[in-house]
């Protein structure tokens, strides 16, 4: 198990290497550069800036320079925020983003899974219709619409929660709900489908033939088996949530790193863009390892060696 884990974690390195090469190449292939703005800088100034930041070097030299810094934990200078390094920017916002992501994830799990279970148990009756409707609305409502609706009702009309900033727990409520809306729906749908599949299994009939209480049949025999496929999607969902959301962080004015995914592209802030990409790639790769470990925990048929 330990060897397996070590091997899986080491495999993250080539994944990150590949992702970095592709992103680096694409990023520099896009026209424009970090110095572009409405007012064009004189060519001389641009050349001087390029020389200062090493952008006049061939691309592979630039990559080696960046990669050398990255492995030493130096994410490079920001091209846009001149007085700050990318390390500063990321370390300032990352914990806010991760906190919001984890809260939204927990909300999604603790609402989505029960919602899916309830739907499956009331299959083709009102609990199912209710839960399925909630899921469809959740899947098809973009997060900015949900965010704005939440702001209008709970912020403006009812005045229960503040609508922006990140000062304390009351600030956390609306963004967490807005961010969790989509994954709640996704998890509920997966759980429902998986439960319905398990309900038809022979071993459920065996459990019933033992005269167990319905609750015992559902909890001990159905849910655990039904969660195996659900765990598969939880990994990518968590990776997606903890790396932040441009929309939610912008709407609620949250000082996280999620908004940099978009802004760093727009401003060709090369090193910030690389940092964000690597962050996301690492989160996805790492969560996949976590999911595989969880599999072995849930399903005794799976053992790693």
């Amino acid at each position: 198990m330990i060897t397996y884990l070590a091997r899986r974690i080491l495999w993250i390195i080539p994944v990150l290497f590949t992702v970095s090469i592709i992103t680096f190449t694409l990023m520099h292939a896009v026209p424009g550069g970090p110095w572009d703005s409405e007012k064009r800088l004189p060519q001389g100034v641009q050349n001087r800036l390029n020389a200062q930041y090493g952008l006049d070097q061939p691309i592979y030299v630039q990559y080696i320079t960046w990669a050398g810094g990255f492995v030493q934990g130096n994410l490079g200078p920001s091209y846009r925020f001149k007085d700050r390094t990318v390390n500063d920017i990321v370390s300032d916002g990352i914990w806010t983003t991760v906190q919001l992501g984890v809260m939204a994830f927990l909300l999604a799990v603790f609402v989505g899974i029960p919602l899916g279970i309830i739907a499956s148990l009331g299959h083709n009756r009102w609990p199912d219709y209710l839960s399925t409707s909630v899921s469809i609305v959740g899947i098809s409502t973009p997060s900015f619409v949900l965010a704005i609706l939440l702001i209008v009702f709970f912020g403006v009309q009812l005045r229960w929660f503040p609508t922006s900033g990140w000062k304390g727990p009351p600030n956390w409520v609306l963004p967490t709900i807005a961010l969790a809306g989509f994954p709640i729906a996704q998890i509920a749908r997966y759980t429902r489908a998986s439960m319905l599949e398990v309900t038809r299994k022979d071993y459920i009939r065996t459990a019933q033939s033992k005269g167990l209480r319905d609750r015992a049949v559902v909890i001990r025999h159905m849910v655990r088996n039904a969660l195996i496929p659900v765990v598969t999607i939880l990994g990518p969902i968590l990776a997606f949530l903890v790396t932040g959301s441009f929309i939610i962080e912008t709407i609620f004015a949250i000082p996280g790193v999620g908004r940099y995914y978009i802004t760093a592209i727009g401003t060709r802030d090369y090193s910030l863009l690389m940092a964000m990409t690597m962050l996301y790639a690492f989160a996805v790769a790492f969560m996949n390892v976590v999911v595989d470990v969880l599999y072995a925990y849930i399903d005794p048929r799976i053992r790693y060696s």
Partner: protein, 369 residues
């Protein structure tokens, strides 16, 4: 070990009273009063006019259509027929495990040890299931939960129905595993089903079925998914343990050879109906229904010529949506006459004790004698 075994089987008479809380007693006595049913001295199970139907988009499938039979205390009754003739649904109906929807028991009476099962509340029925009625299913690979240990799966019913402490339940599980022939049982409690072979898994299923000393075991094709050498062992085990515990067995099989070796009496089912019933001896010496002949004839024999085609019954069983008033086997019968197509024969008495068949041709005055 022996002691606790004896303790359990002293719950011999209405042991639902002995071991379950008051509700079960009330439920069972209520049921008896409600229906005015009297406990028949030698019948453990009486099924009367059972009809189980499946309500599907294509129509109502009459899977079990007016079926009646008895099982005596400690008796082994065979239920024989092709796939889809209603054997399994009959067994599921007795335990009220027919998936609903789409299935429903629409008519009939099932008396189990004097209790009218179809009138019980769900809760009272649940307390009977696993406790008084054990189930062995066909495929031991899919019938055991892959994510729970063997020990846990066997102990579940014991803990639910017998109120034993976890320790005592564990001891009983070890004892059961030893009884069904699992070597080093104490070491295997923590194993999962995938760590057992097919035959071993079926032994575990048998241990589950026997775990609370039931009066009746419903064995639904218990050896169909196993290879032939294992089949014999499993059947021998079921037979030995049912004799040892005095458990009645309803053995469902499509294999007349198995029925002949295991059963006291045999019911042949076809298209949702019982078409012939009798003791094993009369049935095999003097079968009275062309379908039974077909089943007997399709058994491979030791003197068959190597490589020769196996004998089959031509055609397929009819769809059970609105069956006509005619002999249901008629379309596949070699001896069919007009009357078979116009009127369905009743189960009528034949030579031999308790021997009945549903066939115009073999009735007195029929065209086969």
């Amino acid at each position: 070990m022996e002691q606790s075994d004896a303790d359990v089987s002293t719950a011999d008479l209405p042991s639902i009273i002995e071991l379950s809380p008051d509700e079960a007693r009330r439920a069972s006595s209520e049921a008896v009063i409600e229906t005015g049913a009297k406990r028949n001295a030698d019948k453990l199970l009486e099924v009367r006019g059972l009809k189980t139907q499946f309500f599907t988009a294509d129509g109502v499938i009459q899977a079990v259509d007016d079926v009646s039979f008895d099982v005596g205390y400690g008796e082994t009754l065979g239920l024989v027929g092709e796939s889809g003739c209603g054997k399994s649904v009959s067994a599921l109906s007795i335990a009220r495990l027919v998936p609903d929807p789409p299935g429903k028991i629409v008519a009939g009476q099932i008396l189990f040890d004097g209790i009218d099962i179809l009138k019980l509340s769900n809760e009272a029925m649940r307390k009977l299931r696993g406790k008084e009625i054990g189930f062995i299913f066909q495929d031991p690979l899919t019938s055991l939960n892959p994510t729970l240990t063997i020990g846990y799966q066997i102990s579940e019913a014991i803990r639910e129905h017998m109120g034993l402490s976890p320790r005592a339940a564990r001891d009983r599980v070890v004892e059961l595993l030893a009884k069904v022939g699992i070597p080093r049982p104490a070491d295997r409690l923590k194993d999962y089903p995938h760590q057992f072979s097919g035959g071993m898994r079926q032994r575990v299923m048998i241990a589950i079925a026997l775990s609370c000393d039931p009066k009746l075991i419903l064995a639904d094709e218990p050896t169909t998914a196993l290879d032939v050498t294992i089949q014999a062992q499993i059947l021998e085990l079921i037979q030995r343990l049912s004799h040892e515990f005095g458990t009645a067995v309803l053995l469902i099989t499509h294999d007349l050879g198995i029925a002949a070796g295991m059963c006291d009496r045999v019911n042949v089912m076809y298209a949702g109906r019982i078409v012939e019933t009798g003791t094993v001896d009369t049935m095999f010496e003097n079968p009275q229904m062309p379908y039974a002949w077909g089943l007997l004839d399709s058994l491979p024999r030791i003197d068959d010529i190597r490589g020769a085609k196996l004998r089959t019954i031509e055609g397929l069983p009819p769809l059970l949506i609105s069956p006509p008033d005619a002999c249901r086997f008629g379309p596949r019968c070699r001896y069919v006459r007009d009357i078979c197509r116009e009127d369905e024969p009743e189960l009528t008495e034949r030579a031999g004790e308790g021997h009945f068949a549903r066939c115009w041709a073999t009735e007195p005055g029929g065209w086969i004698s």
